[in-house]
Amino acid sequence: MEVTKVENVTRVYTVGDVETHALRGVTLGIQPGEFTALVGPSGSGKTTLLQLMGCLDQPTSGQVFINGKDVSQLNRNQRADMRRGTIGFIFQFFALIPTLTAYENIEVPLLLNGHTPAERRKRVQQLIEAVDLVERAHHRPDQLSGGQQQRVAIARALASTPSLILADEPTANLDTENGKQVMEIMTRLNQETGVTFVFATHDPRVFTYAHRVITLQDGLVVENGKSPRK
């Protein structure tokens, strides 16, 4: 069964009188353990698609399934419940809570999921090692480099052992070296834990890491195939 599946979804944004058809009928599914890239020119609908697959947004029409469950009709709180513990997000801007330390940022999803303090300490420790930030655990985001912040974000996305992680241009704001490090951590975590990754990107160096590359254009899937590398 697919971790996430969209069937014939459309998404129309209405701002004032202007309607933007961000997605015009997209159907695709992501299998457990996949490491998939979503590519396409700016404005092609990558972010919109990730948000629908991640239950962050609702489609204008069509259906979205998370682990086989139809989530197209859920309300805001039901969607929050669905995301929590099932889906992790990584954003282009390093979306950390500025007032919390790296450690505390990683802890947030665990708190929301009601883990015991002992479980949380163990899990955060483990994640912080996995993203190689032990010395930086008690720094605030503004005391961390972009790459370090993005690694905290990865650790946070993984914290509540989700089955799916959606990453929207995780390397776009990083230099080559840091971008590479982030992609390698993601690849490793995918291999070690089997967690499914879908990431949007423009960057040709990044989608060579992918098992599968899905190309969007003008809100439609124009190509859905194996990575050029694999």
Binding site: D81, R84, A95, I97, P98, T99, L100, L111
Partner: protein, 407 residues
């Protein structure tokens, strides 16, 4: 929950100056209210205290058909053998003192200048006269045997331009319903700093007052002070079998007590106005905080935080603002109330009829006022944060992550 508190606290720390100003606004509003409450309470206490000490006492024993609005001197309206009655009352354990007083109305004149006065015959040796004895500004206190002397208040002396030793003419009503007059020597001038009282009250020794009004061995009232105001009920019971009417300080000071009730209601309205103003400052702070943190709200929502938690976070934040503001307010307000209590304010002669005021007003802050003002401040702050909190909770995660749509 702990994390929500931690986040809320650090969020306040993020914009320290703004948080501080919001707290200050609330604090100053609260401090102002505490000052006003203390002045109100002080005024009421003072007024009641003054009235009891100078005029009404805690209790009065009067003849059954005495009417205080008439100053009748007919014998059937008076207490006969007043010294005896007074000493009987004074023997009750709860009674501090009991002394007879005779009231008459009169006109005091010096040459062309005249003034209507209330003549009170007192037992000059009673400690009930302490306020006048201590308030003596010139001359001497009258004595029981004095047949020529009287005592008058400073404002009256000023008005008639008399000094100690001057001869004045006093015209009084008598028991037979006629009038009599006689020249007196001003023995002393007193000032209780209660202009409403001092400007119209003249004292004679009781024996002389009885003589001139032809009411031998009678008094209008027995003036009674108790060891404690709260013993009133017990003493009233003890005196219930007597043929006299016994009137309590509550009854005699109804006007003051009613005014207090009314002013309490007024105080609440004032609370709402002052705190309503500070609430707008807090709404403003929190609305700005919500807009600045739109993206974070999006992140928290993406991670799976529900709307009610997001709301709770902002409520905690405003509670912290409220508590900080209340602490500031209590400190500032405490200082101001302390100043009002120890130094006081000069108010002069307010000339409110029916109430006696001193010319200096001292604040008095009671716990009840502190508690109610603080509570109202806290509740109003929370109500004020409702709108920003709802604003935050109702953001769609997708829009929030985009930095929020323009509102």
């Amino acid at each position: 929950m702990k994390t929500l508190i931690k986040m809320a606290f650090r969020d306040l720390g993020r914009n320290r100056r703004r948080s501080l100003f919001s707290m200050l606004a609330l604090g100053m509003g609260l401090a102002l209210l505490l000052l006003i409450a203390s002045i109100y309470e002080g005024q009421m206490r003072l007024s009641l205290d003054t009235a009891i000490r100078l005029q009404t006492g805690h209790l009065q024993v009067r003849a059954a058909n005495y009417n205080e609005n008439k100053t009748s001197l007919a014998w059937e309206d008076l207490v006969a053998d007043p010294q005896l009655v007074a000493s009987q009352v004074a023997s009750l354990p709860a009674v501090e003192l009991a002394t007879p007083r005779l009231y008459a109305s009169g006109i005091l004149s010096l040459g062309e200048k005249t003034n209507g006065v209330r003549v009170i015959g007192i037992d000059p040796d009673s400690t009930a006269n302490q306020p006048f004895r201590l308030g003596l500004v010139s001359g001497e206190f009258i004595t029981a045997e004095d047949r020529q002397g009287l005592l008058l208040g400073q404002p009256l002396a000023d008005k008639l331009q008399v000094e100690v030793g001057d001869q004045v003419n006093l015209l009084v009503n008598t028991a037979s319903g006629e009038v009599d007059e006689q020249n007196f020597t001003v023995r002393g001038i007193y000032d209780t700093h209660t202009p409403g009282y001092d400007r119209s009250t003249v004292f004679l020794p009781l024996a002389k007052a009885q003589a001139i009004t032809q009411s031998e061995n009678h008094a209008s009232i027995i003036f009674i002070l108790l060891k404690d105001r709260d013993l009133t009920g017990a003493v009233v019971n003890a005196l219930s079998s007597s043929p006299y009417q016994v009137v309590t300080w509550e009854k005699m000071n109804e006007l003051v007590l009613q005014t207090e009730e009314f002013s309490n209601a007024f105080l609440y309205v004032l609370y709402l106005i002052v705190l309503g103003i500070t609430a707008t400052v807090i709404v403003n702070t929190l609305v700005m905080a919500v807009f600045e943190r739109t993206r974070e709200i999006g992140i928290l929502s993406a991670v799976g935080m529900k709307s009610n938690h997001i709301m709770a976070m902002f409520f905690i934040e405003s509670s912290m603002l409220a508590i900080g503001g209340i602490i500031i307010g209590l400190i500032l307000g405490g200082l101001m109330a302390w100043y009002a209590k120890t130094v006081g304010f000069y108010i002069g002669d307010m000339g409110v009829t029916g109430m006696l005021y001193g010319d200096r007003l001292y604040g008095h802050l009671v716990f009840e006022d502190i508690a109610s003002a603080s509570l109202v401040a806290f509740i109003i702050t929370l109500v004020a944060s409702l709108y920003p909190a709802i604003l935050a909770a109702r953001m769609e995660p997708v829009e929030a992550l985009h930095g929020g749509k323009q509102l």
